[in-house]
């Protein structure tokens, strides 16, 4: 893993090329993470993949998390891996919730990392985050006509209470 100093160097180099991209860096439990603005996400990923000396060419995982009630609410995580130096770096694109009727949007990285195709569909399925430029963005794990974004924190877990006859007879 790039250590804390290496992480700051990376931040500096990215800032030189794409100003205002990196919002924050974090180094915890031995893992480096970069928080970036969503508009520059594709640019930062391309830079990390292509620039000599870094070349994080393998996308291990693309997933999202809902940080409610913190703002910005959503973060799309890109776990990048460099297999030659055996180093991982995490890139978080922070997305705000645009409000009631519209969905948060970010550029798709399918052309950069073809492995992201299914994984971006999964993020769309669970969080409602739209990936612009994805070849086939539709629900993957839930039924096609399902309404709702289950993995958001304000979506209820669901299920039903167990019906016991005793309770119903005596307590209504």
């Amino acid at each position: 893993m790039p250590d804390a100093a290496g992480l700051e160097l990376i931040r500096g180099e990215i800032e030189a090329d794409h100003a205002g991209a990196v919002l924050d860096t974090g180094f915890e439990h031995g893992r480096a993470s970069l928080a970036i603005a969503p508009e520059q996400a594709l640019a930062v990923l391309t830079w990390l993949r292509n620039s000599p000396g870094h070349e994080y060419g393998f996308l291990s995982s693309l997933h999202a998390a809902d940080y409610l009630p913190a703002e910005p609410r959503f973060a799309v995580h890109y776990e990048l891996l460099n297999r030659d130096r055996v180093e991982r770096i995490r890139v978080k694109a922070l997305l705000a919730d645009p409000g009631e009727d519209s969905l948060p949007e970010i550029d798709s990285c399918c052309e950069l990392f073809p492995t992201a195709e299914f994984q971006e569909r999964e993020v769309f399925d669970f969080f409602g985050i739209v990936f612009r430029g994805h070849p086939d963005l539709r629900r993957i794990l839930l039924p096609e006509d399902y309404v709702g974004w289950p993995q958001r924190r304000d979506f209820p877990v669901g299920g039903e209470p167990v019906t016991f006859t005793y309770n119903e007879k005596n307590y209504g």
Partner: protein, 398 residues
Amino acid sequence: MAEQLASEDRTSEVMTVNIGPHHPATHGVLRLVVDLEGEVVKDLKPVIGYVHTGIEKSCEDKSYWKVIPFVERMDYVSYFFQMEAFCGAVERLVELEIPERAKHLRVIFLELNRIHSHLVWLGTTALDLGAISMLWYCFRERDRILDLFEMAAGQRMHTRYFQVGGVIEDIPLGFERKLREFIAEMPVRVEQYQALLDRNEVFLSRTKNTGIVSRERLLELGVTGPLLRAAGEPWDLRKAFDYLAYPKFDFKIPVGTVGDNYDRYRVRVAEMVESTRIIEQALDGLPEGPFIADDRKYVLPPRSELSTSMESLIHHFKLVTEGYRVGPGEIYYAIESPRGELGCFVLADGSAKPARVHFRDPSFVNLQAFKDMSVDSYIADMICSLGMLDPILGGVDR
């Protein structure tokens, strides 16, 4: 008349066939929408989600140790690996060191589970290809492994054996002897399986030079595990990231050359033998000591102490009712499961329940390579590739 018949092009129609979600191939509820031209596959779209259980959402509602039985049931053939991914992630979040004995025990069970997963794979894939006898032999061995699991943990499958801090119980007396008998016999059995299949004309002609995807394409698609190793890339997380006690053991990583289905078969069978070697070394070097960490904030105290120490009682009470709190933080921890890189992302917000648990399941990502494997080949080769791809739909759908 003959000219009319000759001019009618009968094989240029593209027919869309739906295979599944219920089909005789024993790989779970995978639905494939296949565009066929004659018998040649032109396009393939997997439709998944038929066993989606909302495990990740349910985990947000449960305390950390209750999450362990949930995540076990994702990829239901390699359950120890999911437990290890989750427990390892939480251990890194709380910076808890597990004792050496626990590391060795975890490695033993993980490698036993790897053999178990490969046996199930071999049995069901050979069944799909028509070599039905392999199913009985592989499942005979599998029952022996399940006997070992039952001896240690009480359950054949989904044992909840790993807990944060180590393993839940020490191995009983007689376990080591039975395990040594098993690992002495296992390489002989693997040779017998190879004698059945390796020179079988039908098996060879079905698996050789079918389903080839280049190494670069596999890396682009994020494929890991035996599929990548069969294509010639020696990438194994056990060697790359030193986790648990793997750095202490001496084992090889089988790597293929061509990347066809035959190589995938050979790689997995060789991995079974390597796993027996790892288990033997782990068993030989098994240190004495505690099997779970001492930190009472995260680990239940032994029951004998509950009647004498008030503090233990309070710890036990807090752990069982509320569970331990994991401070704010997030981590992604990946291990090498029989299918590839199994990663666990845990987002903790300081309470006793995780805020987000996500599993990067290898079968889910490997399934994207299926289209590349089967396009422009016969539908029979597609079935063979599906078997060699080894998807477990519980992991794909979570």
